[in-house]
Symmetry: C2
Subunit: 155 residues, 2 copies
DNA sequence: CACGGGATGCAACCATTTTGCAATTGCGAC
DNA sequence: GTCGCAATTGCAAAATGGTTGCATCCCGTG
């Protein structure tokens, strides 16, 4: 249990692995991040955190997410608007479809696209460090999207 | 010459097509954008513009790029950092490799990836409005990247 | 259970972008 | 050509999203 912690580990384990102290704010922030199934921005995270502990400052949320992002515990996205949005990095890697009409975000993964990316990078003499694929979409027709309301994951 | 203007058209044609007045600042800003081969941010654009006409305000550059972006004359990118960067939209569509060590940006295009994206969107009941694929890369080895110094385009 | 450095809250600050407003100017009508 | 007026601009102030200095607090080791 000592290699590369994720949000599904306990706060104690994560902090020990990263050489950080276990504090009240960190407990709450990591718990919120661990149980989030969406892609909240920092202000939304702070809103959720203060429902559990109203004394936690927004600055602490900013400091904590940056820390967790640097340590690859969470991933940062921006999705067009200015704000940074976060999700746990322990889910398998995936990209995003963003419904431009509703803001809904659908996760997907394509091994084939990933393979083509590797190929392109290699052809240019590079190796991939990370990548970001966001597809902004609109419903094909008004009925088609009614089947699900929440983010899903597909292959 | 009356359908969908691009930066390679004259400023007069672009403005006429968009119902805008031809002004000094717009002449200079569009000229700079048309001849740019890189992806300048707004402050850099303003720096280039003021070398030709020092009286143009930064706010005007912001207003003009937003206008051109809304009209799909230019494209906006963000590439990780906070700033918006722009490039002419009349180049054929392409995505970007970003060298994380040097900041170099290499343009590429893959019909196959585009096709797979369409397929994924359709499978979820959506059509693609736009998309953004950025691959952050590092040199495979220290020699391999020495063959070119400037952005290129490939298939 | 005392101590020291890491962590926090707060407010001030920073970078980027937007906006209110008064002054200027392009351009169609005469 | 020039008049009139709305579009455009410059400027400064403000909004937005995020960072930071600092005094205080408190985790965890001894």
């Amino acid at each position: 249990m000592s290699r590369k912690p994720t949000l599904s580990d306990s706060v104690e384990e994560i902090c020990r692995a990263l050489g950080l102290r276990v504090t009240g704010p960190r407990r709450v922030i990591m718990q919120i991040l661990a149980e989030a199934t969406d892609h909240p921005d920092t202000v939304e995270l702070h809103r959720r955190v203060t429902q559990i502990d109203p004394s936690v400052a927004l600055a602490t949320v900013y400091r904590t997410v940056k820390l967790l992002e640097d340590k690859k515990i969470i991933e940062r996205h921006t999705f067009g608007d200015g704000r940074a949005r976060y999700e746990s990095a322990d889910h398998a890697h995936h990209d995003h479809l963003i419904d431009v009409e509703t803001g809904d975000i659908i996760e997907f993964h394509s091994d084939e696209i990933e393979r083509l990316q590797e190929e392109i990078a290699r052809k240019h003499g590079y190796k991939i460090v990370s990548h970001k694929l966001e597809i902004f979409v609109a419903p094909l027709d008004k009925q088609a999207k009614s089947t699900s309301r929440k983010a899903r994951k597909t292959s």
